[in-house]
């Protein structure tokens, strides 16, 4: 079994790879974690992770610049039904479009738009930066066994934009920051976290473990 972490020039791949390797070990599995820019490996991987640091338009362009990568992602998700996880901007890229530095089309996996966060309380600073709790909406395998809610564990957020989903059911957890900020989305075998699980200590490592063992219906 392989977990492919897509390398398209975004930073932060080491942390993501190390976090996945650690949780592969802790869940007693033997998956190989590969950081790769090779579309063939992505198309054949058993799980795919799309990380992302930076601006939406820039990340989208970098992903498209790898010949065959979008097609490989499509094949893994649609033909092979593999679980897919986007992280931060990698999650935002799942949207229909993003409006950071001009409107840019996304992968249209979770229908909706990536928009600037506008906290109802103008005293709240943007970016939404730091540790926040999550409010789950219903049950989802990716959140199973994680202590959530106001008294629960924290996730590390670092963003000025978030995915506003057309279908409310696609949002499986939010964070409260002068209103609900989209924290985790899932649609079929495709999921994404706005926060950085690889930087979110116990909560993040728990979510990674859940992704590693996730069998989407």
């Amino acid at each position: 079994m392989t977990i492919a972490i897509i390398d398209y020039g975004a930073g932060n791949l080491r942390s993501a790879a190390k976090a996945f390797e650690r949780m592969v070990g802790e869940t007693g599995r033997a998956d190989e974690v590969m950081v790769t820019a090779n579309p063939d490996i992505v198309a054949r991987a058993d799980r795919i992770v799309l990380p992302g640091d930076g601006a939406f338009a820039d990340c989208r362009a970098n992903l498209a610049a790898i010949s065959g990568m979008i097609e490989a992602i499509d094949e893994a998700i649609d033909v092979r039904g593999r679980p897919f996880l986007g992280i931060c901007v990698g999650m935002q890229l799942l949207a229909t479009s993003g409006d950071e530095h001009g409107s840019t089309p996304g992968l249209d996996r979770v229908q909706g738009e990536v928009r600037a966060i506008e906290p109802a309380d103008p005293a709240l600073k943007v970016p939404h930066m730091g540790w926040n709790t999550l409010t789950p909406r219903g049950d989802h395998a990716l959140l199973a066994g994680i202590d959530l809610g106001r008294g629960g564990l924290h996730a590390y957020f670092l963003h000025s934009y978030h995915l506003v989903a057309d279908n409310a059911d696609d949002v499986i957890a939010t964070a409260d920051y002068g209103g609900a900020v989209t924290a985790v989305v899932a649609r079929g075998n495709v999921a994404g976290t706005q926060f950085h699980p690889e930087k979110s200590q116990a909560l993040g490592l728990g979510l990674i473990a859940n992704f590693i063992t996730w069998s989407p219906a």
């Binding site: 930073g11 932060n12 791949l13 080491r14 942390s15 190390k18 976090a19 640091d53 930076g54 601006a55 820039d58 901007v89 950071e100 530095h101 309380d121 709240l124 600073k125 943007v126 970016p127 939404h128 930066m129 730091g130 540790w131 926040n132 709790t133 106001r150 008294g151 629960g152 564990l153 924290h154 590390y156 957020f157 670092l158 963003h159 000025s160 964070a175 409260d176 920051y177 002068g178 950085h196 690889e198 930087k199 979110s200 200590q201 116990a202 909560l203 993040g204 490592l205």
Partner: protein, 267 residues
Amino acid sequence: MSLKVRLIPCLDVKDGRVVKGVRFLDLTDAGDPVEAAEAYDAAGADEICFLDITASHEERDILLDVVARTAEHVFIPVTVGGGVRTVDDVRALMLAGADKVAINTAAVKDRRIVRDASEKFGGQAIVVAIDAKRVNAPGEAPRWEIFTHGGRNPTGIDALAYAREVADLGAGEILLTSMDRDGTRDGFDLELTRAIADAVTIPVIASGGVGTLDHLVEGVKDGGASAVLAASIFHFGTFTIGEAKQHMAAAGVPVRLDGLGATGDEP
């Protein structure tokens, strides 16, 4: 609102080693920044800040190696500053595994690096480090100026105007150090912290002067800081991260206490 105030230990790094060492817990190598960062992660720190004070830019690979090894072992965010001169320097640190990069003198010299770097990497990753010193005469209205080179060189630039400018250019955060208070243990310059925090809509990290746990509380409650940074009180083992957070929580400051007991969130 359940976003927590961040507590950030800062490690000065020179030639790949922690300056003066870190005297807490049972580190096998008190001079290894990676081991210190791991210990702070385990102790409940919300972020780690590395400030590189290596004189020579040619030794950059040593810092990149420290950042890369830290990113492999630490599962909280890492901010790296010191000697960042170009967008390529920012890129190299980000690729090594830094989550945020702090720009100081280069932005004072040419503001364009703030705009260019935040367009390239997203503003959330770009921290502008401001070293400010009080310059008003006694009895005058308070006024602060930007200083470079560890507080030695005045620039004539007003700190408030500069903070607004870099925020408008896309910076995601300001790391604000009072050069009057840095190293004194007399507490933050709260007037400065409040003035800057009120002047910008991005988060401000208060830095410079922490000697007691009450200082951390004041930085948030009186200074309006979104995060507080300290070095010596943690490195020398005066207080643990856990003690600092429990103290902040008891004073009504919302902090993340995952694994440290109660949540610190308001009921």
